[in-house]
């Protein structure tokens, strides 16, 4: 391979994995190099095929039940702790019941644990049929839907072209208060964007929190609190955050 071409670095460029400096160099090279332009087009075409066709595994309810069962069998403390809380639910209900159990421990108690609350809300939203109350990729449909349901308004934008398709919105409850949840989709991963008035809090830069492998990115801007919650790679959440924080073009 000719050393002057991007080669493997082209992939890191497409994946947003180059340092700012090297990404700028790559971009400058791409302006004048038709071969690398063509390679770039190929990588992007392939990635879009993969993202359209690769489907995540969907563990069956029976398998999840079996998984829990075997872990419980291996729990050395199971006799001490056993509480009669595991009345088995069968069939499709089992998966839902599982999620509730998963979400419960971090939900409810201290209002100061906002990360736990939004992560719990995120997990609840992934239960079948409860991701969106209003399902639309049109922000002119989603935004008015919240009017009258919430005592505040906020901007709703679609970032489909940047890889974050608006799927709709939902009324959710965090800390006992009704809040807006916008739903974006990055490939097969759902991202919840929670928005509510931040009160007197000053603006803050995005900050990471993480619970049980679910990432949450939080910031305050113009009196509104924002939480992005998802299991996508943290780089993706940061990218969505910077899109949302950028002024509308």
């Amino acid at each position: 391979m000719n050393g002057s071409h991007l080669g493997e670095a082209l992939h890191a460029y497409v994946d947003n994995e180059l340092s700012v400096e090297r990404a700028l160099e790559a971009r400058a090279h791409l302006v004048s190099c038709t071969r690398c332009q063509k390679d770039l087009e190929e990588v992007r075409a392939l990635r879009s095929v993969l993202q359209r066709t690769l489907k995540p595994a969907e563990p069956s309810a029976a398998f999840l039940r079996q998984l829990r069962h075997s872990v419980r069998q291996a729990d050395p403390a199971r006799w001490r702790r056993r509480v009669a809380r595991t009345a088995w639910v069968s069939g499709p209900l089992a998966a839902a019941a599982l999620l509730v159990v998963v979400a419960l421990p971090s939900f409810g108690p201290p209002a100061s644990d906002m990360t736990g609350e939004v992560v719990a809300a995120h997990l609840r939203s992934l239960q079948a049929g409860h991701l969106t109350d209003v399902e639309s990729s049109d922000r002119h449909t989603v935004k008015p839907w919240f009017q009258g349901k919430l005592p505040y308004s906020f901007s709703v934008r679609d970032f489909r072209e940047q890889g974050f398709a608006l799927e709709g919105g939902r009324l959710d409850y965090v800390g006992g208060q009704p809040v807006a949840a916008l739903v974006y989709r990055a490939r097969q991963h759902a991202i919840n964007a929670f928005v509510w008035p931040a009160g007197a809090t000053r603006d803050t830069a995005p900050r990471w929190e993480s619970r049980t492998g679910i990432h949450a990115l939080h910031w305050v801007a113009d009196g509104m609190a924002f939480w992005l919650v998802s299991d996508v790679g943290d780089g993706e959440l940061e990218r969505l955050a910077s899109l949302m924080r950028a002024p509308p073009s």
């Binding site: 080669g7 690769l54 075997s70 872990v71 299991d231």
Partner: protein
Amino acid sequence: MDPPSAEEFERVALPHAAAALSLARALVRSDADAEDVVQEAFMRAFKYFRGFSGINPRAWLLSIVRNVGYASLAKSQRAEPVETFDEERDPSPSPWSSEERPETPEAALLRAVDTEAVQAALQTLPTEFREVVVLRELELCSYKEISDIAKIPIGTVMSRLSRARKLLHTRLSEGRASG
């Protein structure tokens, strides 16, 4: 201190069951075997849960799934075509950069490719390539996460991913060309 309970473990691990199963499926290439791999990986993870740093449970679990998956491949006589390779000694066979590419626009060529074709093409790749493709394109892992899961340097993540994509592209293009 009490040892961690099954409940605590489930709270941390179960949200990643689908990711675990996706990776296992990519490694062992059979749904039933993949479930076995995930089940064993969860048992093992629970056993070592006390030593877990708490930082990135998904990456931690996936690295265990990967170990169990490879062990299962090594055991099964349905022996993988052992396509190990050495990035340094064996630089890109690079269909990507060859000059005699078909002139058809890539997008048009690949547009009609469906899930089955992609699965079939993926199956022909060496295990090390299948896993980076699934971790990156399906699980949206960063290079750092892939490096942690597969225990390889970030530079190797980049080179495996680039070679995996080149190979996939070639297989898919061949598939399209031959009908």
